[in-house]
Symmetry: C2
Subunit: 130 residues, 2 copies
């Protein structure tokens, strides 16, 4: 195995041209994160996944799934059936990412009362100040 | 303390109107995540932070900092000096979020060779297929 490019040597999300920044955005983005978490709960077919991720359009879900498949986070499986069924599940790497995301989402959800308090105080200061 | 709204009872990022989804996006977004990780390393003044987060515009950094401050993730401190110096640091909640993000970013950075392999295979299939 030979190194294909310098990028293989070290990834740094702080560098604007590092491809790891794009992958990080794909897994933490508006829909990518929710799709990964959902697939961490169970495998899903497209239509069921769309119901789970409330508010996503068919086009955005399709694009999100393609990006996650391309990055090796999920696998698209065509099941033998008439008509054929397509199912999505996590790869081992996708599972690791989903586990990290779950922890983060739980933290945010659990702290929403504190976040809303902070928002109210901020808005009050802003209203009083400038 | 009384419950102000139903939202205080249970946060669910899968629900399209839940405010936790907005907060999750703020901390995982393109710039929010990098700012939180940077402030996890040390406190920063605006100009130094802008150099650390390679590629962010002054306007976007300013907006990102305001959003994170409003959500109670960071604190903006004006230091006594002539001219006054402004410094940003994490709140305890921001620190917890930054720790989770660091783990996720490390995972993505460490797995970039595998991600790039997956991308190459995907592009090859696409090129050969449709």
């Amino acid at each position: 195995m030979t190194e294909i490019s310098d990028q293989s040597l070290e990834a740094d999300v702080f560098a604007r041209d590092c491809s790891s920044r794009t992958t990080l955005q794909a897994v933490t983005g508006r829909w990518g994160s929710l799709v990964l978490i959902a697939l961490g709960e169970s495998n899903y077919r497209f239509s069921a996944l769309r119901r789970r991720v409330d508010g996503v359009s068919e086009r955005m879900l399709s694009q999100t799934l393609q990006n996650l498949e391309r990055d090796g986070m999920i696998v698209r499986t065509v099941l033998e059936a008439i008509p054929p069924k397509v199912e999505y599940h996590l790869t081992p790497l996708g599972r690791q990412v989903a586990d990290h995301l779950s922890g983060l989402i739980e933290l945010v959800q659990d702290n929403m009362p504190a976040v809303r308090d902070a928002q109210a105080r901020y808005d009050e200061r802003r209203g009083a100040g400038d």
